[in-house]
């Protein structure tokens, strides 16, 4: 994995944006966890603490109009496209100010206006759907790229293979991003996969390049994303990227992650993407004051969002029967 810093190709503004985004994702998800401990976040939630560099790098490299397709571990990818923290926390807290007014919940965060085309809770389902959005772009000559995020566990389900082959033969402008956090739910991915790199080692089967990157290095993620998007926009077809990372928390809120070997989490925390990126920025001459200001700004946003969500009412029960069908209602008979 390359750790090389080449200051030339990433502007200072973009670097600050990468830092701001990562801090925002970290703080928002940490807040979601705190609210869960206070029994204010209902249902399940799947955090990606420790994986922020991937969401930040791919989102910051996107253009307006590019489309994100996420999994149930989708808070970070949703926030990274600029969706307000209040909208996400509101959804997690089943409030009327939530992104979908509480009709979807943590696993289905969607904000079409931000290009977040959905968070999909059935493993693998959204890879073919991202192909379809990319097919539309190809069909109409639109320049947007569809970017599809998923975990290492997804590489063992049929839809992964169907989508990869489909995207390759149709040369679709879609980028598949496997976040390899080493665990498929509660089980080491290596225990259930025939190859060492569950995504990259299968790329050849679809005529694609084997790409493995350090998913905790936001610069490396950004560079990889830029090159994959450029390839897609050129009409040269899909990419499959395996980004190595580690989730600091369990699979879901119900999982204390006791299955991890002793010391593993601590070793990965030394490679915490935000800690590393902060050190890099200081190294590059960014002042402590600038970084502190960013951190404070994020903390303020999250605090304000929390206050707003706590004050927000629950959704009106009228919406139980809305939007089943396109006429806005649920009528199935006359």
């Amino acid at each position: 994995m390359s750790k090389k810093i080449s200051p030339d190709d990433i502007s200072a503004e973009v670097r600050l944006e990468l830092y701001r985004t990562q801090v925002r994702l970290r703080e928002a998800e940490q807040r979601a966890f705190d609210l869960f401990l206070q029994n204010l976040v209902k249902g399940t939630s799947h955090l990606s603490l420790g994986q922020e560099a991937i969401a930040a790098g791919f989102a910051v490299a996107m253009q307006k109009g590019d489309l994100s397709f996420c999994t149930y571990r989708g808070h970070a990818h949703t926030l990274a496209r600029g969706v307000p923290v209040e909208k996400v926390l509101g959804e997690l807290m089943s409030r009327d100010n939530g992104l979908m007014r509480g009709k979807g919940g943590s696993m289905h965060l969607t904000s079409v206006e931000h290009g977040v085309m959905g968070s999909y809770a059935i493993i693998g389902a959204h890879l073919p759907i991202a192909c379809g959005a990319a097919w539309r772009a190809q069909y109409r000559g639109d320049s947007d790229v569809s970017v599809c995020f998923f975990g290492d566990g997804t590489t063992n389900i049929g839809a992964f293979h169907e989508a990869l082959n489909f995207a390759a033969i149709w040369k679709l402008p879609v980028v598949f991003v496997c976040e390899n956090n080493l665990y498929m739910e509660y089980t080491p991915i290596a225990d259930v996969t025939a190859v060492e790199h569950p995504a990259a080692d299968r790329a050849a089967a679809y005529g694609l390049e084997r790409i493995i990157i350090d998913g905790n290095d936001a610069d490396e993620v950004l560079r990889t994303a830029r090159s994959a998007y450029e390839r897609a926009r050129r009409g040269d077809g899909p990419s499959l990227i395996e980004a190595m990372t580690y989730r600091h928390s369990g699979h879901s809120r119900a999982d204390p992650a006791k299955y991890r070997p002793e010391g593993e989490l601590e070793r990965w925390k030394e490679r915490d993407p935000i800690k590393m990126y902060r050190a890099r920025l200081l190294n590059l001459g960014v002042s402590e004051t600038v970084l502190n200001a960013i951190e404070q700004e994020i903390k303020d946003e999250i605090e304000a969002a929390t206050v707003a969500c706590k004050a927000a009412p629950p959704p009106s029960t009228d919406i139980i029967f809305t939007d089943v069908y396109a006429d806005g209602g649920w009528a199935w008979r006359n």
């Binding site: 489309l67 992104l99 979908m100 007014r101 009709k103 979807g104 919940g105 289905h108 969607t110 904000s111 079409v112 085309m117 959905g118 999909y120 059935i122 693998g124 389902a125 959204h126 890879l127 073919p128 759907i129 991202a130 192909c131 379809g132 959005a133 990319a134 097919w135 539309r136 772009a137 069909y139 109409r140 569809s146 049929g158 839809a159 169907e162 989508a163 082959n165 489909f166 033969i169 149709w170 919406i319 809305t322 939007d323 089943v324 069908y325 396109a326 806005g328 649920w330 009528a331 199935w332 008979r333 006359n334």
Partner: protein, 326 residues
């Protein structure tokens, strides 16, 4: 006016919509140059070209997922899942993705698409290529389910399905592909959620779908000619939305009702209809609600066996006679 097969009506219906709207695209296995394994898309590749009529690998999840992603972002895809039984290998899209995305996202995501499937038995294909899967689809909130029985309905309901803003499951009956019917010239557009009374009668209402429609009509003609019993035959056509008004009004006139269902017995569409009738027309009824269905078994392949289990006009005649004489 021209005589057209049900098979050619599928292609004509799709062509009508593709010519009207450049966002309508067609994908599926063998549907382009080969014209479809049932020859229901012959000529479309030649007429509309490889950009709009596109073959896929044998990847049903990719086909339906791609249709959904395209629909969410502005196209109006028609996707073919060859044999309806194959819906089981891509069921996630029917059950979890198409019908729930609009609701879960509070109306943000729209999935205007059509899935065509070759449904039903009678072709001696055995238990995995002969099923009637309309009930699988009917039970999922968010889907619309259309089951045409004649060439003119195929065209009109195809147009309605393509123009509909919701995901529509369009079930073509394999044993009807070769049947013929009169079709008017020019554009044909029908309405989803409308049943059709095909034969008026005063003694009993027979509700049927797809291949069971011609069998119900044949039975009604025999019951009239041979036994003086005058049955009303209704082609339900659309399971969701469901035209209960036409059905309840008929039951109010005839006071007796039968369903003819190709599906295995349990949870057939007829059970839902009978439950509505029992709830809302109980005092109109002069006798029991009788469902004529395939028994609750997988379909056998051999002709002598398959013909025995799928409702025939003879079985309809016999059941109606026995019930009305009690």
């Amino acid at each position: 006016m021209a005589e057209l097969t049900y098979r050619d009506a599928v292609a004509r219906g799709i062509a009508q919509e593709m010519a009207r709207d450049p966002d309508v695209v067609l994908i599926g296995e063998d549907i382009a140059k080969a014209g479809g394994v049932f020859k229901a898309t012959v000529g479309l590749y030649e007429q509309f070209g490889p950009r709009r009529v596109r073959d896929t690998p044998i990847s049903e999840q990719a086909i339906l997922g791609a249709a959904m992603g395209a629909a969410m972002t502005g196209l109006k895809p028609i996707a073919e899942i060859m044999f309806a039984d194959f819906a089981a290998v891509c069921w996630d899209y029917f059950a979890n993705e198409f019908p729930k995305s609009r609701y879960m996202t509070n109306g943000q995501v729209k999935t205007p698409l059509v899935v065509r499937l070759g449904n039903g038995g009678g072709a001696r294909f055995g238990a995995q290529h002969s099923q009637s899967v309309e009930n699988w689809c009917m039970m999922i909130p968010g889907l619309k389910v259309v089951v045409p029985s004649s060439p003119v309905d195929v065209i009109g309901l195809m147009a309605a399905a393509v123009r509909d803003p919701d995901p529509v499951i369009f079930l073509e009956h394999k044993s009807l592909y070769a049947t013929k019917g009169e079709v008017p010239d020019g554009e044909i557009v029908d309405t989803l959620g409308t049943a059709k009374i095909l034969r008026h009668g005063k003694d009993a209402t027979i509700l049927a779908l797809a291949l069971m429609v011609p069998r119900a009509l044949e039975a009604a003609n025999r019951l009239h000619a041979e036994h003086g019993i005058d049955c009303e035959v209704i082609d339900v056509r659309s399971l969701v939305p469901l035209d209960t008004q036409t059905i309840l009004a008929s039951v109010a006139r005839t006071h007796r009702v039968f369903t003819v269902e190709e599906n295995p017995r349990l949870c057939g569409w007829g059970a839902e209809l009978m439950s509505i009738i029992a709830d809302e027309a109980f005092y109109d009824l002069d006798g029991p609600l009788v469902r004529i269905t395939t028994p609750h078994i997988p379909l056998p392949a051999a002709d002598v066996l398959e013909d025995l289990v799928i409702p025939s006009s003879a079985r309809i005649v016999e059941t109606v006679l026995r019930t009305l004489s009690n």
